[in-house]
Amino acid sequence: MSKTFLGFRRGHGPAGVRNGIAVISVMDNCNPATRAIAQAVDATLAVTTSFVRGQFGADLEFALDSLAGLGRNPNIAGVLLVGLEESSTEEVARRIRPAGKPVEVVHLQPNGTIECVAQGTRLAARMVRQASQMRRQPCPMSDLVMGVECGGSDTTSGLSCNPTIGRAADRLIDAGGTVIISETSEFIGAEHLFAARAVDATVRQAFLNAVQGMEAMAVARGVDMRDSQPAPDNKRGGLSTVEEKALGALAKAGKSPLVGVLSYGQAPARKGLHFMDAPSGAVENLTGLAAGGCQLICFGTGVGNPIGNMVAPTIKICGNVNTVHSMRDNIDFDVSAIFESSAKIADLGDQLYDYVAEVGSGTRISSEILNIRETAVSRFERSL
């Protein structure tokens, strides 16, 4: 069993599994300049965002914190912020600076796109050159914060890939690491089982408030959740109800006690298993996990969902033999042997744990190689 991975040490904080320079849009209208800079400079990651301009109150805080959290992620060696004007850019910059990494800024006002992109390209190129001087070093597995996620779920998800992820999650927590599970609406019908694992009444109540709050919102608005949970592709894959989906989704969390509840994009303050209150859509969910500091994400899929996160390498795990064949370019870790040749979930989970250490040490995965990566910070209210 892996005891270390080869990571990039970041001062006193946890080590990164990648060493990219993040080019981050401070708001939606900066995305084209952000993409132009990232396109021009190798080893940069374009982190774009919808909205921010016109957002207010708690929603704006979530947006700024999440963008900053992506910049603070240990996988990022340095950050170039692309903003419209100084004051809003500074709002994000001041949230990243405590992480102790280089933060540079460029603005579209007053000199326009060409000047902004030229200046940003030069700064990003300089940061990449500097970051490339860093070398991987052995780091304890306890440095890892791993997200667990599922998407394009079917009935094999709950029976094979999610329990395999759960086994790897337990291994990581045994090694002193941290695991975050999220997707609040996907706990409806199974929340009583997960709540029973909370370390104390405060954590239990915070978790139940999140799930029951989500359900109460759906009921209050007259939503028939059957239309979206399970989603049409989930139903095609054999999932009938949100309860059935939840019981399978829960398996990703392994068997460890629940030690903390996080808001969207919030980083855990301690080791162990955490729950993050976040929407179930893969792109915005992965964004929340990466903003919360996950360096890696194990993503179980059944009928197939190819998307990955820009900042946190997203390992695609599949137990459906048909999908493993039809979407083979998108699957990183095949667990279909659980059904096809009676492989043990425990053994494959241990192998997945070792694979996590390999990916953590630099082995590249499909969403990185094919660059099928997206960012979307959740939006909870209207804009002004």
């Binding site: 409806i188 019908g189 028939d224 054999g238 109800t241 949100v242 279909s336």
Partner: protein
């Protein structure tokens, strides 16, 4: 890591997984045709004859479920039968209904503590 081979439709006896002794549905890990005998494995072993074609990954009823009764998988309630379901029938959205987050019903469902 891609190692498995496609078996699917050529399998002679479709296999179903039973996850808990209390369950009244099994998950098929092969497609089943009408009239085919399915082997059941997992927490309980046995056989059930499919009464219709059922797709890979879908559930087959393994014990009669009366109208309104709980459908059980993982030993947990995954919904209620919207009509009587006979052993061998496909158990899915056409005869199993979620009891949770039903704003369309106009009444707040009780949430388990």
């Amino acid at each position: 890591m891609l190692t498995s081979s496609y078996i699917g439709v050529f399998n002679i006896m479709p296999r179903g997984i039973i996850l808990h002794t209390a369950d009244n549905v099994a998950t098929l890990i092969d497609p089943a045709r009408d009239g085919q005998t399915c082997t059941l494995q997992g927490e309980v072993a046995g056989q059930v004859i499919a009464r219709q074609d059922i797709a890979f990954g879908h559930k087959i009823c393994i014990a009669p479920i009366p109208l309104g009764a709980n459908v059980l998988k993982y030993g947990q309630v995954i919904g209620r039968a919207t009509r009587a379901i006979a052993a061998g029938e496909h158990a899915h959205v056409h005869n199993v209904d979620s009891a949770r987050a039903r704003g369309d019903r106009q009444e707040r469902q009780e949430v388990r503590p």
